[in-house]
Symmetry: D2
Subunit: 360 residues, 4 copies
């Protein structure tokens, strides 16, 4: 188990989908930051089940409690423990999973690795684990905003075949939050919502693409050669359940261009260097260059579907299994705050690393 992420702003998540709850310890947070539960809860609410008609109808308030690390509304510089109690646990909904592995879930691999697993709701492999990430990310985002003027946001740009091109320099969070699918292009959002509703009625699921953006990152963040900014972002995103791919800037489509077409010309104005195009996605040589950072994360369709599927039981006998219960037909709307959280966690860690070695 590797439950920690980050070097200087370091988080450790804990908890299973059923049991005492889920949470996170944040170690290394700068002191004297104003922080109460009210800074964190709104992000958890964006991630929460039951928030709209296109996500799982499970009912959990996901109320966060700060157990340590603050005093009189400010951070102490000591570890911040955040806890969200499990509420709507229905282990009985999972009894069939005690003896059968769900296809394309982590049931079989957890069993193979650990020789034991909490089969209730996926246990540790449940997306519920991301609550700790979102809670910690809310703190990271606050630091980025207050101390560095950096803005982080994400949005849905594609659901199955429905896709739209969004300008990372101009997209606004208000537009993202305007609809329940979190796509800032309203007409496309409506089509996406209809698609997801149709897929849900069919007992099936769909995937798509979330794009992440960071604006205002100064030149100099990123630690070559291994902790390049894009490498840490890639790791952060691929550590998310259901994530299948990551690219940044021109990404996979860069391979279709020649070098002459692809290069970002450098220009200077008023003592500041900028690039005329931004195919580099704000990162060159693993280090931010001051332009907008943007990237894409592919999420596969949710593995739980309401159709009977071939699988294997705990005694390694062939059998079948049909999904039931309350599930997301599409993780993307709830993945948006998670992608934002991971982005903020990567960036604040790199801000502190830059400060440590090069003095900010």
């Amino acid at each position: 188990m590797a439950s920690s992420f980050g070097h200087l702003f370091r988080i450790t998540t804990w908890g299973e989908s059923h049991g005492g709850g889920v949470g996170v310890v944040v170690d290394g947070c700068p002191p004297r930051l104003a922080l109460t539960e009210a800074d964190i809860q709104p992000e958890l609410d964006r991630r929460r089940p039951g928030q709209s008609s296109i996500v799982t109808p499970r009912r959990e308030s996901d109320t966060v409690q700060i157990l340590s690390g603050t005093f009189e509304g400010r951070t102490l510089g000591t570890p911040i423990c955040l806890w969200v109690r499990n509420e709507d646990a229905r282990p009985e909904a999972y009894t069939e999973m005690a003896s059968k592995f769900r296809p394309s879930h982590a049931d079989y691999t957890y069993q193979a690795k650990y020789g034991i697993r909490n089969w209730q709701g996926g246990g540790r492999s449940s997306a519920r684990e991301t609550i700790g990430r979102v809670a910690a990310g809310a703190i990271a985002r606050k630091i980025l905003h207050e101390r560095f003027g950096v803005e982080v946001l994400a949005y849905v740009s594609q659901v199955q075949r429905l896709k739209v091109s969004i300008d990372p320099d101009k997209v606004k969070r208000a537009d993202v939050e305007r609809n329940i699918v979190r796509c800032p292009h309203q007409p496309m959002a409506e089509r996406m919502i209809r698609l997801i509703e149709r897929v849900r009625r069919a007992g099936d699921s769909v995937g798509g693409i979330v794009e992440g953006v960071a604006r205002g990152v100064p030149p100099g963040w990123g630690e070559p050669v291994f902790d390049r900014l894009e490498a840490d972002l890639a790791k952060a995103m691929l550590s998310l359940p259901a994530a299948r791919g990551f690219d940044y800037g021109s990404g996979f489509s860069s391979v279709l261009m020649t070098g002459t077409e692809h290069n970002d010309a450098l220009r200077a104005r008023g003592g500041r260097v900028f690039t005329k195009t931004n195919r580099s996605g704000g990162i060159q040589g693993g280090i931010s260059n001051g332009e907008t950072i943007y990237f894409r994360v592919a999420f596969k369709p949710v593995a739980t579907v309401m159709h009977e599927q071939e699988t294997v039981d705990a005694q390694f006998r062939n059998t079948t299994l049909k999904g039931r219960g309350r599930h997301d037909p599409c993780v993307l709307p709830r993945a948006v705050p998670i992608v934002e959280a991971m982005t903020a966690l990567v960036l604040v860690d790199h801000a502190m690393r830059q400060q440590a070695q090069c003095g900010g």
Copy 2:
């Protein structure tokens, strides 16, 4: 600077493209492994400049020397320092770079971050740094082969618009090595070679896709929730110069399927569990499931082109710069052993982590 990678099989690379050389320290290698320079040199030869007509004609033998960590041809369990001396350094070829930033290179960002840079040949941001990775990767691959029966390989599947579909279960290293572009499909390889030669003559460059494969990985490798196997592979790949994207298994194309179409049915035979399809790319819930692991890495076209481009000088004045000297028109053939090396480094580290917590 973050020059270390891995937790238990931990490498630290060092060196710039000009200076005393480049190298790597490998700490945590299991003891009593047979190891001499002859185990490492062939991998460096696959990465070497001047190896064929479609790579840079620079002439460096890249001869590796083991400075520590072995005794009478076996590893001691102590740190292994590997060193490759710089030979064909021509700092004078780079004098213009002393005062100008090359577009889409790391010149400007290194200067912004550190306030200083070795402008000779890109210094630390040079792809020459990957020599240490390939050297260490040769050791990792040997351990994987001898102790775990795991085979790692990579190949070129796309150069610009020329692409071919390769079966990761069947591709053979001999076929990859049969041609200088390292594409196992011979007719396509010939077309790719002609394309690269044409691009080179035009003073331009192209990118493409390298696919990586690991066969024989047992179920249970990978450390959720942050060091999921795919997350560490993504980080490893995105830490490579010119890498722009990563996906594994069904990857970005997974978003076009429904869950019902996408899921890998589980089946059992002879006490062993397998999946009927392998859209999961051998990894479920961040842990290997025993199937073939496969993934793609997108490399952008090389930034150095022989045309005049807009850029900025060290005093932040607008100017132009035209690439010269000896450069790769396409990094892909040489990227193949590098992708293999990083894959092997990730896997051997996870093998050891699994052994540590779960006893192998």
Copy 3:
């Protein structure tokens, strides 16, 4: 803040003496270990305030709750979060500390470092933080006992000038627990108890020495050159509040001998190597040699005394302060389980590291 300890069996403690409680996250625990609160609580009871007439009379049950990481009474291999709620918090007892720094406490240095501090009961610098260590140590000790046959124990060998020589090969935990000062030599224990009671009545405090012992450690644990077994033990012990010194084996007294006198002759019998003497304290070259490991930890007298002392207030004006409230006149009896916990944490981490690199 550096709230994590260990590499493979990694703990992260959190919490202040006043607030939501204190706890620990244990990441990397082997799966399938039988574990309930009943395995942990007895160790917390040995550390608890109010357990005897010579420790602080504060009343806290220090009841531990497992929030994650187990299922049906067994560890899952996932992070184990342990939580102890704060009960007998009396912030009003500390109001004077809001504006004055207690001499030889951490009040001034926390303020200097973080620019903020929780002045209630010492906040994070309170010895209450060690609850998380003791709870995690109980798990570590269980693994050592069940999987490696290793026994860890500690005892008080000196209180101020009262000291006794104990044979680390023969001392028994039952004898240690026979009296409230935790000195296995009963007559000396009685004298120590009387001394502590006298010191308490005088409103003063005393320090002393705790000795730690590990028996049954196989040859081969310890990771030169930096994570030598003695180096990690030294760090573990000096990370404890009030610890002032550490030595192992012949320790500081080794300097009085010549090499000829000091060396431990090696002998073999029945295919097993042993030393005739054990001045090396079971560790040679940073690696266990199979003999009993033993070491000493010096604890200074508790800083809180009931006499008026010169100090400084928050505005850096000279003033005086007199300790009040409920304090330990001597930390040693309660330090015994803490020293044991840290010893167990170091050893289990090294057992896992040895397994990872050398296969156990």
Copy 4:
């Protein structure tokens, strides 16, 4: 093997006493620091064999070479690889060690751990490994001096029974370097030298105590709860070959005082807080308080003596072994620069950590 030390200013040493040489990679060094071999060599010269009549007469120049990380005499912020070639290797002097374990050396434990060892001169367990530490420490010391005004020094205060009390606030490096035993009290130094010469003639060895001092450390360095400044110093010192104990401030003798006697009264003058006494050794609650940091390290007598001793051979048969060759009768004079180096490494790492979290 754990060959790395430090978090932000991170060193990785490599090399055995026989083979290609010994060295270190320093990762995380701040950029733009003036640095050439001339900054490092003097410290290696203080550590070098053959420097005086009371150390081993082995002849090695220990000439350092910077292989990477600098450009035009300044650090780049990239990893600095330092290399010292092995010169006076006489493997034939160790042939008996190929088949016999030297008592109180690391021969047996390395064999037990790794199942293999380089028996030539102790291989990795040789004190020659500390060359990398001293070389890296020279850089750390330069940063401390130039950027923080911190002065680090060490000296011999005791050789066997000959001891002297030195004031850590007043001792000067010039006085330490005035004599070959590196004791700043000249009359005592002469007695120590005579003792060591006598011991050497007798074919024996002696140990003693080195004291380390850091002056000018500002309040706020140190990372509770685990990486307390004294904990990291303890680990650094106990990671040295032959080190047996560590204490700081009042250390082991603190146990003889009462709290009232022991506490350091706080006083303020001119907006600056100081302590009237310094029994805390400059560290309170794990964090520097602005006073002089001082500590002691006990070194056991060297294990190699010229007398026949009982031991065991590689087949686990009882035999005898008599030391020969060129050895130090007392490591202390050469340990002084090593203790200084480790102190500087700990401090510069903590300076950077403080800068990262709290902004300097």
